[in-house]
């Protein structure tokens, strides 16, 4: 708009929804939910070589109350899945979930009695990142795709409600 040029680009004009989405994706705090081997690659993404901090995600909180993004990295066993659900329920909205690794996406190489065949049976997943373990670049790509998804959300007019519902409850 013309007014921005007059004020030498010190003022930007946009709509509220864009602004809310932009601020949400620019400082999305991850809950580093490292379960198994993928957690090591997630930690490798946090440190200096791949550096997740440049995307505003440096503050990785262990407490779900302070976090926006739950990166489920690793295998969810049947003993652990109630704890995973409980932690998801404790996160404040808006909240997103990334299923990192083959085990979180579909159960991975463990198709047996002890492993949940994909956490999307219990949680709403936004981005799936395959790999065993996925490279840190793959995790970064997934996070950027999540950022793009957040930018397209209708956060004001049609806010997303994510609740954990399982058939029969």
């Amino acid at each position: 708009m013309a007014i921005e040029r007059h004020l030498n680009d010190t003022v930007h004009v946009t709509n509220l929804e864009w602004f809310v989405n932009w601020s949400r994706k620019s400082s999305m705090w991850p809950l580093g939910f490292g379960l198994a081997c993928c957690a090591l690659e997630m930690i490798a993404t946090f440190v200096s070589r791949y550096d997740l901090a440049r995307f505003g995600m440096e503050v990785a909180r262990p407490s779900p109350r302070h976090a926006d993004l739950m990166i489920v990295s690793g295998t969810a066993s049947k003993k652990m899945i109630p704890a995973v659900r409980r932690i998801y329920e404790q996160m404040a909205e808006p909240r997103w979930v990334i299923a990192m690794g083959a085990c979180a996406c579909t159960g991975g190489i463990y198709k047996n009695y002890a492993v949940v065949q994909g956490i999307d049976r219990h949680l709403p997943v936004d981005v799936y990142i395959p790999g065993c373990p996925p490279r840190p670049e793959a995790l970064l790509d997934g996070i950027l795709q999540l950022h793009a998804k957040v930018m397209k959300e209708q956060s004001i007019h049609n806010p997303r409600v994510t609740c954990v519902k399982v058939a029969g409850e």
Binding site: K78, K79, I81, P82, R85, R86, K111, N112, Y113, A114, V116, R121, H122, V166, E169
Partner: protein, 167 residues
Amino acid sequence: MNQEAIKDRLTAKFGQDAVLDTTVFRDQLSVTVIKDKIREICRFLRDEPDLFFDFLSFVGGVDKHPQTPRFEIVYQLNSSRHKHRFRIKTRVEETADGLASIDSVVGVWATADWHERETAEMYGITFKDHPDPRKLLLPEHWTVFPLRKDFPLEGTDDTPDLPPQKI
């Protein structure tokens, strides 16, 4: 001390009928002993000065279904002083109510605690006089024994994702 000599000490102390079977494969010897004397045998193997098996590497189970006795419990022993290894096994039969039992060796080696708990929950074997016979790795409400040969790999209806009641 070589493995044959260790076995001979065992038969000398407990008699020929204490040792049910001996198998040799490559350079390792396994001795199957009778179930009822397992605690005394283990104590002897640990305390005898020139045997001195103070380390228990693991206690494991093998399901030999459909052979009877069905289960085989394996004790892998090691000596820190003499640096020799030995393996003793014992067979446990499955009783009519589907359970089997054997004496626990926690009094001989403290490390047997968790190994026996894991073997118990995976095969359905009771270790008598175990100080803490709770489940170790499986969810507490499960009633199945996964490592048995007749349990399917992908689980049954008794191994659902979530526990029966809502948390």
